[in-house]
């Protein structure tokens, strides 16, 4: 055969530009080592069940019954499933036309979208329209759908926090847009400074880029910071002034580990601010069943809620959703269960609360253990994980280490993380995968390993790190911010 139609040279260039470090070099190397028999602790992705977190019992009972509705007719089903799970399964099955195996409405089952709207109303105090809520196969697919609408070409820029979860940079590359970074301030607990925002936008416009949208991740990933209400107001004002659509990634809204800054949704703040902001700023908010204390990553369940998007455009977004027919129905039911949880008095309520609290309280303790653990290491400084699922310590690499990395043709934090992996089996994601200030290095790990394993993991890390620093340290200079 002569010509091959698809070889590396003839691939879509945008595909080649995509980077997604969460499952990149470190993860691939860790998988290789695992195959060779080394024990690996995967802390590269927010995947709680993979690290031993158990699924909540009630949702699994309900979905199992929905999968096999013939069970509902069996007289002994009550011996295995509690009555409220049985009732809830019937409730969700009645919302479908044909059970789990039929395509639903392309936006998701209306009954579930209604439950999501009711959840949003309870959470924020403002009504939400189910017609503007679309369920998706995971929040990531929703993000990609919305960015696909926004990005027309290279001239379109999207403001993205740095450090950021690389779904955003990868998707912007894939769709041929321009990433406009705004730096979060590490010394101010990864705070957002509106002046940084203004500067980023000005620089982008100077280059001829039309800045179209702004992404906020609240609580932050990888940084974990929870935005204050004042911050959210500044952001909304900014989007109003600059005519940007605000994309609020709020998938970690249940993961809050301090009490000074509880979660407030961008929508609530927007509504609180009243017109013109509440009527004109365009907002798309994202949520998922993958995080929180549910951690049901494998279900691929998510939604986005649109505010102030014109009806004709909503129709176009609906049209695109319809090409993929519908989001998967079991995950829609998980979403319904998450936003419409058990109530006091329900048979399974106490178990549900016990399981949920157990997970959240443990996450809070682990956030503290990890932060303190990192801060006890030589040349490591770590902001507290206020929310989400990650720790993002800064590793102050000595110049000799950076030299060694360059010799090995590796980015310095990749070099460090590979050495860490090989020495301890801890698989992290280098900070360069998320973006960071020039010359400043980090790594991202999750706070998800089991609590009983944490002390050992942290001491294993400390041992490696302190030895590494001794090996490469110069007495008179360190890399620093």
């Amino acid at each position: 055969m002569g010509i091959k139609a698809l070889d590396y040279e003839t691939l879509n260039e945008n595909v080649k530009k995509v980077q997604y470090a969460v499952r990149g070099e470190l993860y691939l190397r860790a998988s290789e080592l695992q195959k060779e028999g080394k024990k690996i602790i995967f802390t590269n992705v927010g995947n709680p069940h993979a690290l031993g977190q158990k699924p909540l019992t009630f949702p699994r009972q309900v979905v199992a019954l929905c999968q096999a509705p013939f069970l509902l007719d069996d007289p002994i089903v009550g011996l295995i499933f509690p009555a409220d799970a049985i009732a809830r399964a019937k409730h969700y099955l009645s919302m479908t036309s044909g059970g789990l195996g039929a395509y639903s409405d392309s936006r998701g089952l209306p009954g579930i979208r209604k439950e999501v709207a009711e959840f949003i109303k309870r959470r924020d105090g403002y009504p939400s329209d189910p017609e503007l809520i679309f369920l998706t196969d995971g929040a990531s697919k929703g993000v990609m759908q919305i960015l696909n609408c926004i990005i027309r070409g290279q001239g379109d820029g999207v403001l993205v926090p740095v450090p950021q979860y690389p779904l955003y940079s990868a998707t912007i590359s894939l769709f041929g847009g321009s990433l406009v970074p705004y730096y979060l301030e590490e010394t101010a607990n990864w705070g957002l400074d509106v002046n940084n925002l203004r500067q980023s936008v000005a620089e982008a416009r100077f280059k001829g880029i039309t800045v179209r949208a702004m992404v906020i991740i609240n609580p932050g990933n990888p940084t974990g910071q929870c935005l204050s209400e004042a911050n959210l107001r500044e952001i909304l004002n900014f989007c109003y002034q600059e005519n940007l659509v605000l994309l609020g990634d709020e998938v970690y809204q249940q993961n809050i580990y301090q009490d000074e800054r509880p979660f407030i949704s961008a929508r609530k703040v927007m509504m609180d601010m009243g017109p013109p902001i509440s009527k004109e700023v365009q907002l798309v908010s994202f949520h998922t069943v993958s995080k929180g204390y549910w951690g049901e990553c494998g279900q691929r369940g998510g939604y986005f809620e649109m505010t102030n998007i014109p009806p004709q455009t909503v129709d176009e977004i609906y049209k695109i959703a319809s090409i993929s027919l519908s989001p998967n129905v079991p995950a829609q039911i998980f979403m319904g269960l998450m936003v419409n949880p058990l109530k006091p008095g329900d048979i399974s309520y106490e178990q549900y609360v016990r399981e949920s609290k157990g997970i959240l309280e443990s996450l809070r303790r682990r956030a503290r253990i990890m932060t303190d653990g990192f801060n006890s290491c030589k040349n490591v400084v770590c902001n507290f994980t206020e929310g989400a699922m990650y720790s993002f310590p800064q590793i102050r690499l000595p110049p000799k280490a950076i030299e060694a990395a360059e010799k090995a043709e590796k980015v310095p934090d990749v070099f460090y993380c590979l050495k860490l992996l090989e020495a301890t089996g801890i698989s992290t994601v280098p900070g360069s995968g998320f973006g960071q200030k020039e010359g400043v290095f980090h790594l991202r790990t999750t706070i998800l390993p089991a609590e009983e394993d944490m002390p050992e993991i942290m001491s294993s890390f400390k041992k490696f790190n302190d030895q590494f620093m001794e090996q490469y340290e110069d007495n008179w200079s360190h890399s620093r911010m």
Binding site: L11, V15, P55, A64, N308, S324
Partner: protein, 535 residues
């Protein structure tokens, strides 16, 4: 629907595809004025006085024009109207001359009463809630082999965690099972590393289009009529659809001579044709390709250096004894062609067949004949979405490895399967005959898949009436049919057709007991339509 054919016919081979450049031609729209202004240095830019005159970032004039361009008739205008009518009947039963909407627009079997396969659902339920496997009562509720299979599957999942993200290609053990199933089916080996499990076959198709299409100069050769996922995906990715008409007179045959002709024409216009889409069994056309035809297609792709995108989601839907499904992988290997000779992507899904599990979103693509660095890129793009839903992955593995002789569920599984397939075959025949009875309507046999695609001759009067309402004639007919009878068909213009011919697509899925009523209502409507519009 009209937009599809008219704009497509005009733009198909044009190199000026609607894309970002489209915006530049609109020099005087307020939105592009904004863009001009925004490119001036920051010092001259006063943002605060500017905001009230600018179009919002997410509005019809400012969103990605490729989004506007693509169409998906299967859930288009007619369906929206049907849903509206359905709501009207619910609140006011006398509102319309029918009691219910009869959806014949979409291949969604379980929404029309088809039952799921018991064994598959048993395994899925156990995998969703594995803690019941330890209970003795479970033995009384589930078949022994479903319990065994659930254990087997759970042991292939690290930590038995069905709620965890898996490997981005899908759980390795499940891919092993699928590869073994492919080998059983074809008699040629399959490599689990070639398999990418996806949320249904559609995302896999989108992924390939994204890899293949660099600009409007990249063309994808497609049979027309065509399942509109492909036309929509090509438009969304900014490529060019290169059409090749199937021959209705010969049962929708795909002639290689016709393929060659279209290829040459496209090339002469500066289009690089990258791939050929073949849907076998066909959608909407329902033909099952003859093996000789398939060999010629493989040869053609090999000679011309095209990627063969083989949509084989209906592989278990074959209704005629004289035809058999042969995968393109099997055909290629049987010709002695291997990875070096032909680049082939085969798509399969859990949505069709006899299992009809549309709502689960399970499927995979088997990718063979690409270099390692291309494969790496496919993996990388898959990893951004982390993985497909685990339950769908499990189901895909079950579909490719159903109960075997000796398994407890073997007989009942086969009985369920055969019941569904024979019912589909009989409904296909009944409806085909009914369409052929209608005056001015001819209908090819549905050899496979789930659809009939009858051709309807419309009079000049009807066509003029349609034009007056700015609707494609076949959409006009379908709309009238809907409002008179509650029956929902998809106009042929949503799939593409030879210009000047009209068709509609009807599924073979309505329940058997509803079919006589459908036929009666259709026949009555058709007579009155002909009377109204006789020249």
């Amino acid at each position: 629907m009209q937009r599809f054919m008219i704009s497509k016919a005009r733009n198909l081979l044009e190199s000026s595809r609607q894309n970002y450049h489209f915006q530049r031609s609109q020099l005087f729209s307020p939105q592009s004025a904004h863009r001009f202004l925004s490119s001036t240095p920051a010092a001259n830019f006063d943002s605060s006085s500017f905001s009230s005159t600018m179009a919002p970032p997410v509005s019809i004039n400012t969103i990605n024009p490729k989004v506007l361009e693509c169409e998906y008739a299967v859930r288009g205008e007619i369906v929206t109207l049907a849903q509206k009518l359905q709501q009207e009947i619910q609140t006011k039963p006398e509102a319309h001359p029918f009691e219910e909407i009869l959806y014949c627009n979409i291949g969604n079997p379980q929404s029309l009463g088809q039952q799921p396969i018991t064994f598959f659902r048993e395994v899925l339920a156990l995998c969703d809630h594995p803690s019941i496997l330890d209970k003795s009562e479970t033995q009384g509720l589930f078949s022994a082999d479903s319990i065994e299979r659930a254990w087997q599957i759970l042991d292939q999942i690290p930590g038995r965690a069905t709620g965890a993200y898996s490997h981005s290609q899908g759980i390795k053990g499940l891919r092993d099972t699928i590869a073994a199933g492919i080998e059983d089916r074809d008699g040629f080996p399959a490599d689990p590393n070639d398999i990418f499990l996806t949320d249904g076959a559609s995302p896999a198709v989108h992924m390939m289009m994204r890899l293949l299409i660099r600009s409007e100069k990249d063309g994808i050769l497609c049979p027309i009529p065509l399942y509109p996922l492909y036309s929509a995906s090509i438009a969304l990715h900014g490529g060019t659809l290169v059409p090749c008409y199937l021959d209705e007179a010969t049962g929708w045959g795909l002639e290689v001579s016709e393929l060659k002709k279209q290829l040459e024409t496209a090339r002469s216009k500066g289009i690089t044709v990258r791939a050929l889409v073949v849907i076998n069994p066909g959608n909407p056309t329902g033909q099952v390709l003859a093996e000789e035809n398939q060999k010629a297609i493989v040869e053609f792709c090999k000679q011309e250096g095209l990627v063969l995108l083989a949509d084989e989601v209906y592989q278990e839907n074959v209704y005629v004894p004289e035809k058999k499904f042969h995968s393109f992988k099997k055909v290629s290997r049987s010709m002695g062609y291997d990875e070096k000779d032909i680049s082939l992507v085969s798509f399969q899904s859990v949505s069709k067949g006899y299992y009809g599990e549309c709502g689960k979103r399970g499927g995979y693509m088997e990718v063979t004949g690409f270099s390692a660095d291309v494969r790496e890129q496919i993996y990388k793009v898959s990893s951004v979405n982390l993985c497909s839903n685990i339950s769908g992955q499990i189901l895909a593995s079950l579909v490719m490895s159903p109960p075997k002789v000796g398994d407890e569920s073997y007989k009942s599984h086969n009985a369920e399967r055969d019941g569904i397939l024979s019912s589909l075959a009989s409904r296909a025949k009944t409806l085909e005959d009914a369409f052929n009875e209608l005056e001015g309507v001819t209908c090819n046999k549905a050899e496979g898949a789930m659809y009939l695609f009858p051709r309807i001759c419309l009079t000049e009067k009807a066509i003029k009436a349609a034009e007056a309402t700015k609707t494609a004639p076949d959409a006009f007919y379908c709309r009238r049919l809907l409002t008179a009878t509650g029956i929902v068909f998809v106009p042929g213009s949503g799939f593409g057709q030879v210009p000047g011919t009209w068709h509609f697509r009807c599924t073979i899925l309505p329940q058997e007991e509803k079919i006589p009523a459908i036929i009666t209502r259709l026949t009555d409507f058709h007579k009155s339509f002909l009377n109204e519009f006789c020249d």
